[in-house]
């Protein structure tokens, strides 16, 4: 997947329009995990919008976000940075070491108690 496809997929998964950002930095001003993060919420928005996504995949920051949604609550432009960070995180998980789950493995894993949604989300997370 090239740079542009990745950017598009992240934007689609998150439902975020990063162009709405007016670069006020209120997301990072309100972020309780700020000191833990190498890239801060406003940088996530800016870097995704400019297509500079690789460094985010490499960074621990995607796991430091608490998903507390303070940034979503406070953003004056309704950009929803936490959703964007979540999308980057999901995408990073999906592409780690290619495919972790094959279709053929599925019947063995099934039992009556597994919700269908869990299977679907497992596929989304662990397959390329």
């Amino acid at each position: 997947m090239n740079r542009k496809d990745k950017q598009e997929q992240i934007l689609r998964m998150s439902g975020v329009n990063a162009r709405k950002c007016m670069r006020c930095g209120k997301c990072s001003a309100t972020c309780p995990a700020y000191d833990e993060m190498e890239y801060h919420p406003h940088q996530f928005v800016y870097m995704v919008e400019s297509g500079n996504i690789e460094p985010l995949f490499e960074s621990e920051s995607i796991y430091k976000c608490l998903t507390c949604f303070a940034c979503v609550e406070r953003c004056p432009r309704d950009v929803q940075p936490a959703k964007l960070i979540e999308a980057v995180r999901v995408m990073a998980l999906r592409q780690q070491d290619n495919t972790h789950m094959k279709k053929g493995d599925l019947p063995m894993m099934l039992d009556e108690d597994i919700p269908q949604q869990a299977i679907v989300s497992a596929f989304r997370k662990y397959t390329k």
Partner: protein, 663 residues
Amino acid sequence: MQRIGVFVCHCGTNIAATVDVKAVAEAMKIEPGVVFSTDYQYMCSEAGQNLIKDSIKEHKLTGIVVCSCSPRMHEATFRKAAQSAGLNPYMVEIANIREQCSWIHKDMIPATEKAIILGKAAVAKVHLNTPLTAGESPVVKRALVIGGGIAGIQTALDIAEAGFEVDIVEKQPTIGGKMTQIDKTFPTLDCAACILTPKMVDCAQNEKIKIYSYSEVEDVKGFVGNFSVTIKRKARYVDETKCTGCGICTEKCPMKKVPNEFNLGMDNRTAIYIPFAQAVPKVATIDADYCNMLKNGKCGVCQKFCTVGAIDYKQKDTFVEEKYGAIVVATGFNPIKLDNFDEFAYSQSKDVITSLEFERLTNAAGPTSGTLLRPSDGKHPHTIVFVQCVGSRDTSGCGKTYCSKICCMYTAKHAMLVREKYPDTEVYVFYIDVRTPGKNFDEFYRRAVEEYGVHYIKGMVGKVVPRSDGSIMVQASDLLSNEQLHISADLVVLAAAIEPDKSARSLATMLTASMDTNDFFTEAHPKLRPVESPTAGIFLSGVCQGPKDIPETVSQASAAAAKVIGLLAKDKLTCNPCVAEANEWMCNGCSSCEKVCPYGAITYSDKEFRMPDRTTAIRRVASVNPAVCQGCGACTVACPSGAMDLKGFSNSQIMAEVDAICK
């Protein structure tokens, strides 16, 4: 049979790039009644107009169709041209093939087809057009200004200067508006009161100006040149004609715990009060919500001490009816409520204040006599944080989507004043963008940074937390150094967004003047008619039209005055002859039209009719006053028997257009 000429305009490439104008002109030639059809590059140019004039004479045209831009743009131009060639101006029809065709389509083939259809519809209408003659209506040579802030004051002074009578209606006990609460004005730092109060006095002393203070507009009827307005004079329980403004009542009043709105509730006033020393008119007003005498009949102290007997506890609201030729709206603004912004702790700490409150704290007539002290403990603040864009440029639904425009400049002013008076104070300004266009504005802001050492930090404040030791923790972004800052502040000042005054919405309904989604009045044209409302005779002055600072407000106020003077200088206005007319034979006297008419132009009367059997019957029928009718057409839709018709837009003309389009 009419002899119709069709003129197709290229409008440069505006139309010609999308519509095949030659094909349109050609197609129109075969329409019934069309004896001449041509196209030209700019029909509105002098050469184009001459083409129309010459063709009317040469081909003995009885009606013309111009396929061009919107009639709002050039209908008047072409009507005038036709008139000068001896044709009745109402025999001109415009087919709008620009706004409604070339500008909205890309493909030439269907666009050309549509242009031809629009042309055919106009031709079909011209066949049924009849020559109309415009009447005249007189102009009442008096103007009404609603709102007595700096905008209203300037407009009134300028209108009075031209020799016309003008009334100001102000809902507060004094004129002056928000500017009375401001300490200094940017970018020159002269004192607001020093430049405003002389203007207020001028208003009071000008023979041509009448001030209705503590009054509101209750009802508006009529139309341009002839408005009839009901003004409610709220009971102030003090006889304005007797009160000398000596102020003894305000000293003696025992009810001393009323939040003082002039100082935004930061100190108290008495129940009988004069808002401030330079109030105009300088008369006392009793606040009925707090006065013991009015609430439970016990007290009467002010009446006892008043040496001129001005106190009247039995005063009632009164209503005044006045006629005006023009109305200027100058209803101004208020800072927004900050309930949606809990993160800034405005409601939790007395030391988190709005910028307008800050103005009062630095004003010599304010609650602290101009010494900057914290509202909570009266101590000098040593670290002050200013937060910009609180509720401005906010599309999340919590605030306002627009830029409030004035905050960047007044915050630079506040920051500068603090550093000048108290150099030991650290001042931080958190901004998203600094917007300082205007004469000497950017230089002013740079002075705050370069000469006064104000710390401007690019980034927003995310969280304000009042702490038990009295300090306030401010957590913010510094985007340029990519840091999160934690500042321990003594005072936080929020630049709250501004919004139109709440009274504007109901006023707009009364005036049938349009507003945008933010409740700002819309102007007739955003660039070329910025001080007129689309409703004839209604003019706009100040922030009611959009955020603006004092210099801009004063310019607009004078511009609105110029427009009013232009209107009042006329003795008569030409009426629109496209008015409603009742067919008395078809009218069944049901009054449906009378009920829907927004102008009160329709009356009913009993008339004698000769019936077919030669008897005489008396029937109740509608008649329209053509001087009052504005041609809105509401009655023609309401009439169940089809007796109402609008001249120039008759039912048969519109049906002919529809038929031509559907053919």
